[in-house]
């Protein structure tokens, strides 16, 4: 079956998932993003790559950070941007996803940035739209959040350029996390030799080791000598139910404290996709400490999203 993300020439047509994308395309996006990092420091923070194009942020699930960074990225590329919070409008009136999409196509949207609570929603839309329209997955269920995965490896590359020498630990709720899946695929595709996941069994999906990761249940053991620690957000609804007894117990067993951070390499960096639960998965002194790169992640997120939109928008994708 054809990879729905690539066109017949093997070029990126939609960005739906990191899985299935060749290393060449991941590097193309990362390298393009490099050229966009500087745009934000210019006096006029704009390049004209998407002038005259309409980017439609279609969020069926709430988001602040991701939606805002996509919006900023599109605006810096000079696109017109519409942001729709569909969860509060047509969906509640019973309109189907594809009807919503059709209506926006009729309004001449050129690119869709889609977030949805169900895995596969972005694929469904990508399959439905005409060939000149591009779809970027901004998070679908537990499946994928490719721009997050890309911005995370972009951040890692900035601090630790030798990816083929790294040991990376992903900590927390892998089961429900599209971020974790995207990070794992991005890291393994780019040749990071050792990716670990650290979590209790209740927060790991079946046969997770088949994604190419080493599984640890003991936080101290898992953090030993790692170069990068990627924390995952623990959603409130998971904390006090059948998955975990309490947030206090979780922090005691899997929270990232300064003592635990000391087990990693001395120059290890700490990442988090946000929003953080301070005192649940991460201690404030670590989150705000000198090894934290959590805020640079956000900044680089804009460059990555600009790069993806520029490449899909058809230009050379390089900042002028």
């Amino acid at each position: 079956m054809n990879n729905p993300q690539l066109d017949t020439d093997g070029q990126l047509r939609h960005l739906l998932s990191i899985e299935g994308l060749p290393k060449k395309i991941l590097n193309q996006i990362l390298d393009t993003a490099e050229s966009f990092v500087g745009v934000a420091e210019r006096e006029v923070k704009k390049v004209p790559l998407l002038r005259g194009k309409t980017v439609c942020n279609l969020f069926f699930e709430n988001s602040t950070r991701t939606r805002t960074t996509f919006e900023i990225a599109a605006k810096r590329l000079s696109a017109d941007v519409i942001s729709l919070n569909v969860s509060t409008s047509s969906q509640s009136k019973g309109e189907t996803i594809l009807d919503t999409v059709d209506n926006l196509i009729a309004m001449h949207a050129d690119m869709f940035v889609v977030r949805h609570a169900q895995s596969g929603a972005a694929h469904l839309i990508a399959k439905h739209v005409p060939p000149h329209i591009h779809v970027i997955n901004a998070g679908d269920g537990r499946h994928s959040h490719p721009t997050q995965g890309l911005l995370d490896v972009f951040t890692i590359r900035k601090y630790k350029p030798e990816l083929h020498n790294l040991r990376v630990a992903i900590v927390g709720d892998v089961l429900h996390s599209r971020v974790a899946r995207s990070e794992i695929h991005a890291l393994t595709t780019l040749g990071v030799p050792e990716v670990r996941v650290i979590a209790p069994k209740t927060l790991l999906p079946a046969q997770v080791e088949k994604l190419g990761v080493h599984v640890y249940h003991d936080m101290d053991e898992g953090l030993k000598d790692v170069d990068v620690i990627m924390m995952l957000r623990l959603q409130n609804e998971r904390m006090n139910g059948a998955m975990l007894p309490s947030s206090e117990e979780y922090f005691k067993t899997y929270g990232l404290t300064p003592e635990r951070l000391a087990l990693a390499k001395p120059d290890a960096i700490v990442m988090h996709p946000g929003p953080m639960n301070r005192g649940v998965e991460i201690d404030s002194t670590v989150a705000d400490g000198k090894q934290s790169v959590i805020l640079p992640q956000v900044t680089y997120g804009i460059a990555i999203r600009m790069a993806v939109m520029a490449i899909l928008g058809g230009g050379t994708g390089v900042a002028l």
Binding site: T96, H116, Q118, H123, L124, G141, R181, A206, V208
Partner: protein
């Protein structure tokens, strides 16, 4: 009407026939095989040269969507689909709207089906009222109205006390219970096999253990109560092993597998193909291999289509929200043939799994061509390929994981009660 079917390869597993023999039909019954009866003058001759002639297929699970879900499918469309697929008898599960728990409803369904004059319809009554898993339905009344067995469709009985009583009651009167083995708590909100593919796709999984746990309860209670139980749509290797043991212990248990599960695995979900959203979920290569082994060695008795027509809109949703089911009546024969070819199983053995074996489970007079039996036949070309597409399917449900595939096995004629009800 007297019909002479000549020059066909006759396969009748029940009577151990696999030979070039003519069939003679009069007054809706088989009157003779091989030898022309004295004074027989055919009013119609069917030339079956290069074709296979076999008993009409018997499907253990086909949803017709009436009453209640007529926008998904109608009796007329689905019974047309049945005969186009060579299916002349079928059992339909009770999960209609309203549920088949009232004798009047069953009588109406039987009557309306009969009016179509196509395939014979054998309803499975609801085992519990409203399928709620609490109070037993009026099994005797429903049986009198035409139910050939009782089922919970896909809805599990969580209360083992109720399951026990249902089995005791059914055993009292010799009724068979048709049960789908899935422990509902482990399966809650699951949409795919809990394994590598579900993990990659971020889909909530249904572990194999959900089938094993439900099966353990059902088999243990069947053993205690002496009930006759049929397990619908087995999906796991472990399930096959459990049924094998139960049969060796002498339990009155039979089971089937759907054609989909015999040929597909979790990997066929590919890029969220909603046509692969099925109940039970498609499982691993190993499960598929064991289902096949079980079918070959007789642990699994029959293949069903699990025909579940769904309207297109209901499939145009993200995988988990897409409605469960696939069309199947017209694919039962070609998929069974495909399995037989892949596994090097004889045509006769494969046909038995969709005729005699399934008729035995339902306890209906069908699935063989013995003299004086109903002249329900399927005449097909085992070597003709046809492409599965919304255009070629008669069913109102056009969704199947096999869309776009070329399959061998084209039905040429279907006869019900000695009448040609389908002709290609």
């Amino acid at each position: 009407m007297k019909i002479h079917i000549k020059n066909g390869q006759l396969i009748d597993p029940k009577n151990n026939i696999n030979d070039k023999l003519d069939v003679f039909i009069a007054a809706g019954k088989i009157v003779s095989i091989g030898v022309i009866p004295e004074g027989f003058v055919a009013t119609k001759t069917i030339d079956a040269t290069n074709l296979t002639v076999c008993p009409g297929l018997v499907d253990l699970s086909a949803r017709l969507r009436e009453p209640g879900d007529e926008y998904k499918a109608r009796l007329a469309s689905e019974l047309q689909a049945a005969v186009a697929g060579g299916v002349t008898s079928l059992a339909c599960p009770p999960d209609t709207d309203p549920v088949l728990d009232e004798p009047g409803l069953v009588e109406m369904l039987k009557h309306r089906a009969k009016q179509q004059g196509l395939a014979h319809v054998y309803p499975l009554g609801a085992m519990t009222r409203q399928l709620k898993g609490a109070a037993l339905s009026e099994m005797n009344e429903l049986h009198t109205a035409g139910c050939v067995g009782f089922s919970q469709a896909n809805i599990a009985v969580t209360d083992t006390q109720v399951l026990w009583r249902a089995m005791e009651y059914a055993a009292t009167f010799g009724f068979t219970l048709f049960l789908h083995a899935e422990e509902p708590f482990l399966a809650a909100k699951g949409v795919a096999h809990d394994g590598e593919v579900a993990t990659r796709m971020g889909l909530k999984g249904i572990p194999s253990a959900a089938e094993a746990l439900a099966l353990a309860s059902i088999l243990r209670i069947a053993q205690e109560t002496g009930a006759s139980v049929h397990i619908s749509r087995l999906s796991t290797a472990e399930g096959v092993a459990m049924i094998r043991t139960a049969k060796a212990q002498g339990l009155k248990v039979s089971c089937d597998v759907s054609a989909n599960h015999l040929l597909l695995t979790e990997h066929d979900i590919a890029y969220f193909d909603a046509n692969c959203h099925l109940k039970p979920p498609l499982r691993t290569q190993r499960d598929k291999a064991e289902l096949s082994t079980g079918l070959k060695d007789g642990t699994i008795d029959a293949i069903c289509s699990d025909h579940t027509p769904v309207d297109d809109d209901a499939k145009l949703a993200p995988f988990a929200e897409a409605e469960i089911g696939a069309t199947g009546l017209e694919l039962l024969l070609p998929l069974t043939l495909k399995w037989a070819a892949q596994e090097k199983v004889s045509l006769s053995h494969a046909i038995e799994r969709i005729t005699k074996a399934s008729a035995n489970i339902l306890g209906v007079a069908a699935g063989d061509l013995s003299p004086n039996s109903n002249a329900d036949l399927c005449i097909f070309d085992a070597n003709e390929y046809w492409k599965v597409s919304p255009k070629t399917l008669k069913s109102q449900g056009k969704n199947t994981p096999f869309t776009g595939l070329e399959l061998a096995g084209k039905v040429k004629f279907t006869l019900v009660n000695g009448q040609v009800v389908y002709h290609d």
